[in-house]
Amino acid sequence: MSEEFEPNIVGFACNWCSYAGADLAGTSRMKYPPNIRIIRVMCSGRVSPSFVLKAFQMGADGVLITGCHPGDCHYIAGNLKCEKTMETTRKLIDVLGIGEERLRLEWVSASEGSKFADVVTDFTNHIRGLGPILGKSQG
């Protein structure tokens, strides 16, 4: 692998919209950077702040959560619950010195394969630009 800093990105995708959107990016053969590893959850509302904190503690450089668009949640409003929790989580990681921009929440529907690819590409580039959390390359 190259010398350049390659971030570790943990992704959480909800089963009904975003995971399907990610699958669609695949079936449409869209390309995005390989840094993201997606963990499937049934609903973005399942993503506990502890998952995010643990991910950073274990060495993730960025966490991307994707859920259904507001109003489309398979569980009525799990995505909005996630939004609320993640707002606090963002503040928390900022106070901790991790930096709030390392956590992102995006809405991706099952039909938005290209949006999924764009979001991942953009986020990966963004994290790459930020560098490793502890300031030195771990790559």
Binding site: M1, N8, V10, N15, Y19, A20, A22, D23, A25, G26, T27, R29, M30, K31, Y32, P33, P34, R37, I38, I39, R40, V41, M42, C43, G45, R46, V47, S48, P49, S50, F51, K54, A55, M58, G59, A60, H74, Y75, I76, A77, G78, K81, T85, A117
Partner: protein, 657 residues
Amino acid sequence: METAEIRIGVYICHCGINIASTVDVDRVRDSISQLPNVIVSRDFKYMCSDPGQELVRRDIKEKGLNRIVVASCSPRMHEPTFRMTIQQAGLNPYCLEMANIREQCSWVHEDREYATAKAVKLVSAAVAKVSLLEPLEEKEVEVRPEALVIGGGIAGIQASLDIADAGFKVYLVEREPSIGGHMAQLDKTFPTLDCSACILTPRMVEVERHPNIELLSYSEVIDVSGYIGNFHVKVRKKPRYIAMDKCTGCGMCAEACRMKGKIISEFDVGMGKRSVPYIPFPYAVPSKYTIDPENCLFITKGKCGKSPACKDACSSDAIDFEQKEEIVELDVGTIVVATGFDLFDAREKPEYGYGLYDNVLSGLEFERLVSSSGPTQGKIVIDDKEPRDVVFVQCVGSRDKSVGNEYCSRVCCMYTAKQAHLIHEKLPDAKLTVFYIDIRAFGKGYEEFYDRVREEGVRYIRGNVSEIIKKGDRLLVMAEDTLLGEPVDIEADLVVLATGIVPRKDVKEVGNLLKISRSPDGFFLESHPKMRPVDTATDGIYLAGCAQGPKDIPDTVAQAKGAASSAMTKMARGKVKVEVTTASVDTFVCRGCGRCVEVCEYGAPNLEEVEPGIFVSQINDSICKGCGACSVVCPSGAISMKHFKNEQILSQIAAVI
């Protein structure tokens, strides 16, 4: 929990060249084989093929595997396939985890090095999770072949008849003394001009006669518990003070009543009067009288002359002031909610002078005025005079943010056209003007009807009315003709406001009772606006009619049939599978704080008092859908989400980094 040693088999699919061309399958296989508890790690060209599946089954038997990882395509594609595969080999189907190395790896990446490294991580994560997975048992619950229909308007009537015709028992609960709902109040129906009563009455009578329908009129649902297949419902039967089995509907009581003609008739929306013992309208079902307790002298004051006049007049001795309310308990498998709507109160738009001027009417008041069963026997008269100039105002309380109703009520354009037509029919010389913003004539035969009304000479002016004021004993209606950009003032003897449809004022309480949510417009929320328009988020509860949103009669009937069909599907099978991956509570840890109850959209958790003052949350897994929101908010860690437990997800996180 299984205590046996974890023995994992990992199967990496080439998917022809779909995976193998970008991911070095051999390297993945070898790396994975080094992981703890991995007994076998194999690759195969097509895992989903018969030989592929057979490979897994054989290994399970020969090598005593008890956890399986398949690294191939998306689990959304083949998870059911491989669950079946391992089940055939005697494993619990939930002892499977898939790693998506096609859609989310080989197909989206080009660099072989990176893609292979990522595939290793993804498969490792699946291995990590699978070793913590627990077998789960699938569960089915019985569905009682009985349905509850709440609301006896046209939606509830139609749903009840369909379900009853299919052979299921129906309890139809109606809050008013008679079924019929708003449709019974209408005169003619657009665009075909059928008389509303003529098409509705036969259906009402059918309800009364149907052997499978038990009608609970003048009753209210007060409690609903349970879940699909096994709802337990409490209904309060209000006392009519008249014995149903004795009343012949002769009306002598009403004739004799001392308050005769002094009580405002709800059915005639305040335009007519009635007695204390009343039947809402002549063709009411059941055709039995009810004593209005709020206005009865005997009930409120304890005295009505020497003895209640109605009691003296009744020849069948049906009057019974001793009647008490009764609570009926029902067990049903499904519920159809057809609670209907309220009419927008035009007093919220003071500029129209509704409630101030007697000759400004709401749409429903006009229906009663024009109806031959109405207070004027269908004569259109205001203060004993026939109006010469009539103005109709559209969109009153609809499409109006200033009163908080952004939606279109969907019926006003057409009912206004119909009402204009009815006036034209009865008073051909009357000058009719309709102020509108847009005309929405979208149904079958609607546009044609609109054209017909305009041909009859009804003047349509684009622009909505800003103000109605008094001018002598007439009204001055002020607006802008927006097509001409000029002000337009019209004098009128009668103004009819096309008042829209709003959620019933008790919609929130009913929603809480049934644990169903509402959309931003305040109506009940369907599961999906397109694909599941009659379902609610709660299994076994379906929506029909205006309770879900404004609708005309054809759409209401269609939706009622849809709701009936959904209910019948569940009852016909008699059994329904419930979600396996649900949340569960460690009742010892649970602090009973109730945060799970607050966060759940479905009402699955419930606080139960296990000892005096000590509450514990219990999750009903027949209701739980497995979103996991409760486990996130649980402060004590008492709730865990089966198949997506904290430690399972954390193990995945550790493995992918």
